[in-house]
């Protein structure tokens, strides 16, 4: 067989092998935003993070099934007072935030979901709460509670585990996201965006002092004491119901030196 013909056959074979993979690829797109408030080296802080998901065409993505958020190395959990109490998942599911001790609150936020029927670009779930949950595996556990009223009436409690990480990242928040059906027997809703906090901003804890119940603001996790070149890195990986994945990164800029 002439050499050029063999090369042509090989090229066609390679193209045939690659083409289906390219056709399968679902170009989900993710953006991630993170911030520290206050943003000072070593200061106790509130971490805010938000993400948006869409297909390459700007449409609602497939239903989200998993999210792993990677948090920069040096974020210090040593002296945080967040999660001085534990909320039981059953109580959270049954009674919402009212079923949890005030001292279990970790943060709060909101989400936008897309339902595969009706009109409208997205529907806000105005209430997402993060509370400290029991830790069956010995790791910090965050319970998220989403209270959807319209058009999807669903109260969801699901947990995320804080695991140690390596390299530029010190820990990661691994979340298994449950599927939510739009209507009984109908397709699952898509999460378009989520914004939430982990930290003391907007939280009030209580403690007994000389027999009196005193309100206080809990101490948050601390901003690292050194800022790496390029800022504090955050990264997130997203997995979808159809088996596709996408990821996003961002960085919180280094705070300006204080004079």
């Amino acid at each position: 067989m002439p050499r050029t013909r063999a090369i042509a056959v090989l090229a066609v074979a390679l193209l045939a092998a690659v083409a289906p993979a390219a056709a399968r690829a679902v170009p989900e797109h993710a953006t991630l935003h993170a911030s520290f408030t206050p943003d000072r080296l070593g200061a106790a802080t509130t971490i805010a993070f938000a993400f948006k998901l869409a297909t390459g065409e700007g449409l609602a993505p497939p239903p989200l099934t998993r999210m792993d958020l990677r948090i920069p190395a040096g974020v210090n959990y040593t002296r945080t007072e967040l999660g001085l109490a534990i909320c039981q998942p059953d109580a959270l599911q049954a009674r919402g935030l009212a079923g949890c001790p005030a001292n279990s609150r970790l943060g709060y936020g909101s989400a936008v979901v897309e339902v595969p029927f009706g009109v409208g670009a997205g529907h806000e779930i105005p209430e997402i709460q993060a509370v400290a949950g029991p830790s069956p595996n010995g790791n910090l556990d965050v319970l998220f509670y989403a209270n959807g009223l319209y058009p999807v009436y669903a109260q969801l409690a699901f947990s995320a585990e804080v695991l140690p990480d390596t390299g530029r990242f010190g820990s990661q928040l691994n979340t298994i996201v449950p599927l939510v059906t739009s209507v009984p027997g109908g397709p699952d809703v898509s999460i378009v965006s989520v914004a939430t906090t982990i930290g003391p901003t907007g939280l009030t804890y209580y403690k007994h002092v000389h027999g009196r119940l005193v309100a206080f603001r809990p101490r948050g996790v601390s901003v690292p004491e050194r800022c790496p070149r390029g800022g504090f890195p955050f990264a997130a990986e997203f997995s979808f119901q159809d088996g596709s994945h996408t990821s996003a990164t961002t960085a919180v800029p280094c705070p300006r030196p204080r004079h």
């Binding site: 999660g83 001085l84 830790s135 010995g138 004491e225």
Partner: protein, 162 residues
Amino acid sequence: MLKDPRGQAREPIVRPLLALAVVLLLCAQADVSHAANARVARTFSLNDYGRLHLTSHRGFTLNEAGSASGTISGTIYIHLTVASTNRVTAEVNIYPHGGSLTGYASASYRPAGAVATFSGTMAVLRGTGTYRHARASGLSFSGTIQRSNDAVTVHVSGRMSA
């Protein structure tokens, strides 16, 4: 000088024997001296509790001081470092009457709720004074951290030689 039967001169046999005797004597003396200095390592069961309060903190390390009671009593200092979200390491110094002990511990860390707990092992690698020969490994090391004020309790137990 002795002469052999053939009339040739030969090394006197007394001198090497004497030298050998001196060497043997010196060796024997050294052995006796070593035996006098040698000590039989005493192994005993350690079971100690410590209650500590936060004195300072830096980065991921809590510096704690308090008192230890049990088999060995005295002032106890712990530098407890939260190495990751689920692991702590510690340097433990105990100052009983007449000496000191230094140990290093590594433990899993479970920060759930108001009281975080840790559990792992500790080795005693140094001592001074009465405890200068203290050594141990695989000691059980466990305790709690009261998250509202960072007060620590610690329990160390196992076999130690001193």
